[in-house]
């Protein structure tokens, strides 16, 4: 049996609003990841409420700046630092910002 999950599209300015409303519903932040597309990145935010798996896709351009959700979900700091280091995504207001030294890799933004 395969899991039925939802995958919805969000605009970049809705990221924090959605995170707020999900936190109020008792959701857990499951993961954030990004995918390189032709002219930018797709960010995928996944939340879990009981057994429902909710995913939100945010398409951004290469030089766009997005807002961190660490103020809402503190565990987002690892995912956001990972994205900014490996993909070079510009994220502001990360609670614990490693300044691109989370993995401390030798190459610069290998996934960009």
């Amino acid at each position: 049996m395969r899991e039925n999950y939802e995958l919805k599209i969000l605009s970049p300015d809705q990221i924090t609003i959605k995170a707020h409303s999900l936190r109020n519903k008792g959701a857990r932040l499951s993961q954030i990841c990004s995918v390189r597309t032709k002219d930018g990145f797709d960010l995928l935010y996944s939340y879990v409420i009981d057994y429902t798996f909710k995913n939100y896709k945010v398409s951004i351009t290469e030089d766009a700046q997005i807002e961190s959700i660490t103020a809402i979900f503190p565990n987002a700091f690892l995912y956001e630092n990972e994205m900014s280091e490996l993909f070079g995504i510009n994220i502001k207001y990360i609670a614990l910002d490693y300044k691109n030294k989370l993995y401390d890799i030798a190459v610069e933004t290998p996934f960009k």
Binding site: Y103, D104, I105, A106
Partner: protein
Amino acid sequence: MAKITKSPWLLHYDGSSCNGCDIEVLACLTPVYDVERFGIINTGNPKHADIFLVTGGINEKNKAVVKQLYDQMPEPKVVVAVGICACNGGVFKDAYNIIGGVDKAIPVDVYVPGCAARPEAIIDGVVKALGVLDEKQKAFKAAKKQKGENK
């Protein structure tokens, strides 16, 4: 193996491996394989160790740590590279953050291949390392003696 001249102590460090080899190194120390019967003890302190077991292909951040551990070990010392990625990078060779083998960071004496290296192979490698250790010890003593005569 004719005889062992001393009870060597091991230091084990995971140098960016998949930890499969690390588990096998630990499995060597536990019942069934049990290298402790040769007098070999796993230590956590590099200053007590004679043999350094390194697994994995070493990444950029780990390079300095491995070097430092190696420098902290007293002479004579032997390095065993456990697993194919410790030998030359193995399946991770093309990955961007792997330097490709322990010998790119520190001098290696014994190579143990396998993915993951089997406990039997690791024990063989350790026994081989004992031979190298004996030779190094002899050379070390001879050098020390000569130094004393020159004084």
